[in-house]
């Protein structure tokens, strides 16, 4: 039986250690589940496994012999295949061509289409695929594309197959079918790695489970011997606590009330309220529907059902412009692609949403604009406080301050911040936290979306936990612990 062993794997990125001395042993004929919060190091570990990134330290041995991967090609040749959530298929090519991609059979230097189709069809049939291998991948359903990826692994005589959240986009029935296939792969003696958030899948499929947290391997155990509570306990651990900022005032009237909000294939029946003077956190795993909900509140997307009420008035924004006029401002999670115009100066970014205020007859009054921007930049302690600097040249924390300054200048009643401190250094992080709290204390309603549990616990007065597009529960932010939030956020956990 194959044994792939990773020992003492270390991977550092600038400012962060993504993997800190991680060990992982994969046995042929076994399914090994990899669990952990967002940012725990699962993706990096998969990349190391795939040869897509080189570890800074550590060894990898295959059946006792040390191996190194200079490129994904090396890992593939040794029979190690990683199937990512974003499939690596060419949409315009047929399923057969995709299965055989990189190992096309040739005759006299020309593609041997018949052999290609036959070999691809054999692999697909072995997996129980019901579609024509000549179908372009673009026309295949997600589950079918997954089969094409699996068939590709089989054609290459894979000995290790890693699946990154394979059921994230599958229906219940498709999930069942996939499970059957994974069990069949296990029967063939293949070592399967299953990255997942769902405890029920770990239970249904995995023989062993490894929990990662903050880039470290925390615990490895036999699934049959562990309870859900044990596993969640290992996932949460003793998270580094952030300073909790207490509210200076009691929450007032509801500012934004959401009822039965639904957007097809994103979230259903969402109900919660954010009151003046209050910070509410929308917690949950990536993909739980948090950002999708926020985008509807901000007028960036449309809901398909449900109602929203703003300061007691009906509220159904058709564009971000309308939402901003009504006093709702959304700070998106990706500041580089959605928050900033990187080539523009700090000043131009800060005043982007409020430029009309500094214009007379459509002409910008330069001094008024500069003064307003300077005031915001000073208040947020931007470093350097240089208005002419291009936003793209600032550090992550300062970029986030620029985006925040833009929102604050608009003076919204309801501020929605999506991942306010992602990729932000510790100092800027606490400054942003203090700023959000002082906004709430000034009577604004603040809705925070964060994947970082310590941040949720430090900021929120109330925590609304989403799971798979629904509200799973609501917690009091002053008393809730990380374990309580995670128990609600993990699909299929018995703790809820």
């Amino acid at each position: 039986m194959t044994t792939l062993a990773l020992r003492g794997i270390i991977k550092r990125y600038p400012g962060v250690t993504a993997l800190d001395s991680v060990d992982l042993t994969l046995e042929g004929g076994q399914v090994h589940a990899l669990l952990g919060e967002n940012g725990a190091g699962k993706s990096t570990l998969l990349k190391v496994l795939a040869g897509a990134t080189a570890p800074d330290d550590g060894t990898i041995t295959l059946d006792g012999a040390p191996v190194t991967f200079a490129a994904p090609r090396d890992a593939l040749e040794l029979g190690i295949t990683v199937i990512y959530q974003e499939f690596s298929l060419v949409p315009a090519l047929s399923a057969a061509a995709n299965v055989m991609l990189g190992m096309e059979p040739t005759r006299f230097g020309l593609l041997d289409a018949a052999a290609e189709r036959a070999r691809a069809a054999a692999a697909l049939t072995a997996l129980g695929a019901g579609f024509d291998p000549a179908t372009p991948v673009a026309q295949l359903a997600v589950a079918e594309r997954q089969l094409a990826e699996l068939a590709r692994a089989l054609v290459r005589d894979a000995r290790v197959i890693a699946l990154d959240e394979p059921t994230a986009a599958l229906s219940h029935r498709e999930t069942e079918a996939l499970f059957a296939r994974v069990r069949a792969l296990r029967e063939r003696g293949i070592a399967v790695v299953l990255v997942t958030h769902r405890l029920e899948e770990v239970r249904a499929l995995a023989d062993t489970v490894t929990v990662l947290r903050d880039g470290r391997r925390i615990w490895t155990g036999v699934v049959a011997d562990a309870t859900d509570a044990t596993i969640i306990h290992h996932m949460v651990g003793r998270a580094v606590e952030m300073e909790r900022l207490a509210a200076a005032r009691a929450p007032g009237e509801p500012a934004l009330v959401v009822a039965g909000l639904t957007r097809d294939r994103a979230f259903r029946d969402i109900a919660f309220a954010v009151r003046r003077g209050e910070i509410v956190a929308l917690a949950g795993l990536v993909g739980a529907g948090r950002t999708e909900v926020a985008r509807c509140l901000a007028g960036a997307d449309r809901s398909t059902a449900g109602t929203m009420t703003l300061q007691g008035e009906p509220y159904a924004p058709r564009s971000p412009a309308e939402a901003i006029r009504r006093g709702v401002f959304y700070l998106p999670e990706e500041r580089k692609t959605q928050g900033l115009v990187l080539g523009m100066s700090v000043q131009e970014n800060v005043t982007l949403a409020t430029l009309a205020r500094f214009c007379r007859a459509g002409v910008v009054r330069a001094s008024a604009e500069r003064e307003a921007a300077q005031a915001q930049v000073n208040a947020l302690e931007l470093r350097p406080p240089d208005l002419a600097r291009a936003a793209g040249t600032l550090s992550g924390g300062n970029q986030q301050k620029v985006v925040l300054a833009k929102a604050l200048l608009a003076g919204p009643d309801v501020l929605i911040v999506d991942e306010p401190t992602r990729g932000v250094d510790v100092g800027a992080k606490s400054e942003i936290h203090r700023r959000l709290r002082s906004l709430a204390d000034a009577g604004k309603a603040v809705l925070v979306i964060s994947s970082e549990l310590p941040e949720v616990l430090a900021l929120a007065d109330r925590i609304v936990v989403l799971c798979e597009g629904r509200v799973r529960g609501e917690l009091d932010g002053r008393t809730a612990g990380a374990q309580d939030v995670l128990a609600l956020a993990l699909p299929g956990s018995a703790a809820a």
Partner: protein, 344 residues
């Protein structure tokens, strides 16, 4: 300010200055006031089209239809100018004004069509304007039967009126303003062009609309989430580009005293070349009206110098191509420096 920033901001003007100095020394007849006004006149049409295109390109779009619009707006303006009823009711001056409005209006209207397709229906600008380019040229040829129109036949009952109308518009397209020190005066189209460049630069750098043009080109999603009316901005830039084409058409009709359906063929490519040489990035978010003028002048000065040297026009095409390539290579070379240097 380091050398890289200086170069990225003033590189093209410096190249232009070098070229002018070199030509002044090496090309007989180049360094005269009369020749400089000739160059300005020759680049007028291209610079007018280029400044309109600059707006579009800053939003990461493209407008291939401007050359065809010059043809279509031109024949419609010429037809209006020499329409018997128009000349009789409005008189020559009134006909010239009406023709100007028709040229500008049709240009803006077709720009509106381009903009609607791009902004509301999200069709790729290249495809939309490729289609309107073809349709526009076909419509212009259909309208005139393929022949230039405008100058009346000898037996035309309104011969005198029509010629007077053509002469009236010629004041705009071919007129010269007396200027001390310039025996033949300063060409009106060059004046119109300089005014348009100045206005275009003002709108881009000093108005809210201009700021939004850069923002939409720099990051459309961030702009939308900041409440900027992205669709209206996109619509606006195509209307501006179309109107500039209409203006160019009116000037050409005035200059030539006729409207030809094939006028403006390939002008879109010259205008794109001027914009790109002038530092406007095809990826959006970067560019300026003065850059469009600089680019047009660079091409114009080069052609003029080669003309005076008696170099074959074929060589001029090759030289222009090389300059475009150098400008783009320069842009690629500067890419890493742009974030520091800002965009203007």
């Amino acid at each position: 300010m380091n050398a890289r920033v200086l170069l990225s901001r003033y590189g093209v003007p410096m190249v232009l200055a070098l070229l002018v100095v070199a030509a002044s020394i090496g090309v007989p007849g180049f360094f005269t006031r009369a020749n400089f006004t000739t160059i300005l006149l020759h680049v007028s049409i291209n610079a007018i089209l280029a400044v309109g295109l600059t707006y579009v390109i800053i939003t990461a779009g493209i407008d291939l239809s401007v050359g065809s619009l010059v043809g279509l707006c031109g024949v419609l303006a010429a037809a209006t100018l020499t329409d018997a009823a128009v000349v009789r009711t409005l008189g020559p001056a009134g006909a010239a004004v009406a023709a100007t409005f028709v040229g500008l209006g049709v240009g803006a209207l077709l720009g509106f069509v381009n903009g609607t397709l791009v902004a509301s229906l999200r069709v790729a600008p290249f495809i939309v304007t490729l289609a309107t380019m073809t349709v526009g040229r076909g419509a212009a040829r259909l309208f005139t039967g393929g022949l230039p129109i405008g100058f009346p036949d000898a037996g035309d009952p309104d011969y005198a009126g029509k010629v007077a109308a053509l002469d009236a518009l010629h004041l705009l397209g071919g007129g010269r303003l007396p200027l001390p020190g310039l025996p033949s005066g300063f060409p009106v189209p060059a004046l119109v062009m300089l005014a348009l460049i100045a206005a275009g630069a003002f709108v881009l750098s000093r108005t809210r609309f201009g700021r939004y043009v850069y923002a939409v080109g720099g990051n459309e999603e961030a702009s939308r989430l900041s409440g900027i009316p992205v669709q209206r901005i996109l619509l606006g830039v195509y209307v501006i580009s179309g109107a500039c084409a209409g203006l160019a058409a009116v000037l050409l009709v005035g200059q030539l005293r006729s409207g030809g359906p094939d006028t403006g063929t390939m002008y879109e490519l010259n205008a794109i070349a001027a914009a790109v040489i002038g530092g406007t990035s095809l990826f959006g978010g970067v560019g300026s009206a003065w850059g469009a003028l600089t680019g047009a002048l660079l091409i114009g000065v080069l052609n003029n110098a080669l003309d005076l040297l008696g170099v074959q026009s074929f060589w001029q095409e090759i030289a222009k191509g090389v300059i475009i390539l150098l400008a783009v290579l320069f842009d690629v070379f500067m890419k890493s420096g742009r974030a520091v240097g800002g965009r203007r």
